[in-house]
């Protein structure tokens, strides 16, 4: 039952989009409002936005999760405050993040419509999921491991680097995959932050259209844009697929290395 929607969606995308898909479609610039040409600049913008998002969210997320699980007691007021606000943030609709990002990054901080604004807005959106996932995986590590490390006289930093981080890595990867999935599929938060410009980005301060915004525009705003909307959707699904497969490959590779060295 669960696979029916998946097969249906993939079948629909392949049926309508496969003919349009070609090497030149993926790498050339869009023409005539996206009805002709390709999605090259849009693909690059998307990768840059997601890169900025993850480059910001992963270090911050990891740090916050460490702070919550290792440096505060579980019932501490500050910890509870942070957890509570994260849970609320995780449920906020993405358009709200879009308006927030537009106000804070584009206007108050003066970044304008740019890939940087878009990536940072997405980072705010992805952080709650990331932090909670990583924190859970830190909690899953048994207390004995921490105590053994302390008994061996390891410093807190060494314990975190050598014992806790490796053990929590699968959780971190799951968090990254979930966050990436949410980031790469985002439309509402990006249309008001990274914007609508389909030109090849020349810097992070340029406005850049993401794949999801392009699909939305082609399907809902451009007459005759449907074929290319399907093809773009196919590329987006392919991208998510590649990200997922490579993450799990890294995870399995990493776990096997772990076993060898242990």
């Amino acid at each position: 039952m669960v696979t029916i929607p998946f097969i249906w969606i993939m079948g629909d995308l392949l049926w309508n989009g496969w003919d349009q898909l070609s090497f030149s479609f993926v790498f050339s610039a869009p023409q005539n409002a996206g009805r002709e040409g390709g999605i090259g600049p849009i693909l690059i913008s998307t990768l840059l936005i997601v890169g900025v998002c993850m480059g910001t969210a992963v270090p911050m997320g990891l740090g916050t999760a460490l702070f919550l699980s290792e440096y505060t007691r579980h019932d501490h007021v500050l910890g509870r405050l942070i957890r509570g606000s994260l849970d609320v943030l995780a449920g906020v609709p993405s358009i709200v993040f879009g308006l927030f990002g537009n106000a804070l990054f584009c206007q108050i901080l003066g970044l304008g419509f740019s890939i940087l604004s878009g990536g940072l807005t997405l980072a705010c959106m992805v952080l709650p999921i990331l932090i909670r996932t990583v924190e859970e995986s830190f909690h899953a590590i048994s207390q004995e491991q921490r105590l053994s490390a302390a008994a061996l006289g390891l410093s807190k930093t060494t314990t975190i680097r050598r014992i806790l981080l490796p053990a929590a890595l699968p959780g971190l990867l799951v968090g990254i995959i979930l966050g990436l999935g949410r980031a790469v599929a985002e439309t509402a938060a990006l249309i008001f932050t990274s914007g609508y410009v389909a030109r090849m980005p020349e810097s992070l301060m340029d406005s850049g259209r993401s794949l999801a915004v392009h699909i939305y525009d082609l399907a809902m705003n451009v007459a005759g844009g449907n074929p290319h909307a399907y093809a773009t959707a196919l590329v987006l699904v392919g991208l998510v697929f590649i990200i997922n497969v490579s993450s799990s490959w890294i995870a399995s590779r990493w776990t096997s290395c772990n076993r060898l060295s242990a």
Binding site: N32, A33, G34, L47, L48, G51, V52, M54, G55, V58, Q107, G112, F113, I115, R161, R162, L165, P166, L169, I191, F192, G195, Y196, V197, A198, R199, P201, E202, S203, L204, M205, D206, S207, D217, A219, M220, N221, V222, A223, G224, G225, I250, R253, W254, C257, N258, L260, S261
Partner: protein, 280 residues
């Protein structure tokens, strides 16, 4: 520890790599004297103005034209706040906006659309008004089959909605809508998927989709057929100008761009997006 080395290496490649790459990329192409035009507003106009901007960039290689969407009201607001150099409004300026400068670059008409299987051939303005205010709820009231009417309305802030309300002397609170839609294509898909629906969208988009086998029919208004020709001739009653808005009288680069957008050099682009150029 090999695994952590491996992990942090992958982390670096996947996350930090694109960033470094982007900065490296920025360096050689930094434009010291480059100028940037920021244009925001109507989602109807955004694809057209993007294409005009692209052609403008090829003629002025140092200029970058950034087009953002969000609706006409937003375009006007951004222009007033100074966030945008030029606003896009797919309607004429209102009386309280007369301190702004508007330059018309093309025209667009709004047409009432029905599903192709609907036998109703023409509706009077009064009949349309009674359908949208909820006094007529069944197609048999207006000479159709005995089935309920699905009223498709545009979302608040869309200039198509404002133009529609203005023409029929309605306020949005009077309208009893079953479906509220955003963009034109969404409206067309909604009506094409429901034999009892009535909606209104841009003529250019509707004409294109109807000609390409989408199941919608365009209704004449006051016996004037809804075509691009009647809009261009100024005969079709429900039409609107696509306007570029500036805070002060256009000067410098802004003026060059608006002059370019009004020139015959972009008529092919306007026709490509199914709008009506200024003349001929």
């Amino acid at each position: 520890m090999p695994f952590s080395t491996f992990f942090f290496f992958t982390l670096r490649v996947f996350l930090v790599g694109p960033l470094l790459w982007a900065w490296a990329w920025e360096y050689p192409s930094a434009r010291a004297e480059g100028e940037r035009l920021i244009i925001t507003g109507s989602s109807t106009m955004a694809p057209l103005v993007s294409e005009i901007g692209k052609r403008f960039e090829t003629l002025h290689p140092k200029v970058r034209v950034d087009v953002q969407t969000g609706g006409s009201s937003r375009g006007i607001a951004d222009t007033v706040n100074g966030l945008a150099d030029i606003g896009m409004a797919s309607r004429a300026l209102k009386s309280q906006e007369q301190h702004l400068n508007g330059s018309v670059i093309a025209h667009d008409g709004i047409t009432i659309i029905l599903h192709t299987s609907n036998p109703v051939q023409e509706l009077t303005d009064d009949q349309i008004r009674s359908i949208y205010t909820g006094s007529s709820t069944n197609w048999s009231h207006v000479g159709g089959p005995d089935s309920g009417i699905t009223v498709v309305n545009k979302a608040e802030g869309r200039s198509t909605l404002e133009l529609f309300l203005d023409y029929f002397h309605l306020s949005n609170r009077d309208i009893h809508a079953h479906v509220v839609i955003g963009d034109n294509e969404q409206g067309i898909k909604t009506v094409a998927g429901n034999p009892n629906a009535i909606g209104y969208v841009s003529i250019g988009t509707a004409q294109y989709d109807a000609a390409h086998g989408i199941g919608i029919r365009l209704l004449a208004l006051q016996h004037i057929p809804a075509t691009l020709e009647t809009v261009r001739e100024g005969r079709f009653p429900l039409s609107r100008p696509l306007t570029l808005v500036t805070k002060s009288p256009p000067a410098g680069l802004v003026k060059t761009f608006i002059d370019f957008a009004q020139s015959p050099q972009v008529h092919d682009l306007i026709l490509q997006q199914y709008f009506v150029p200024l003349q001929g």
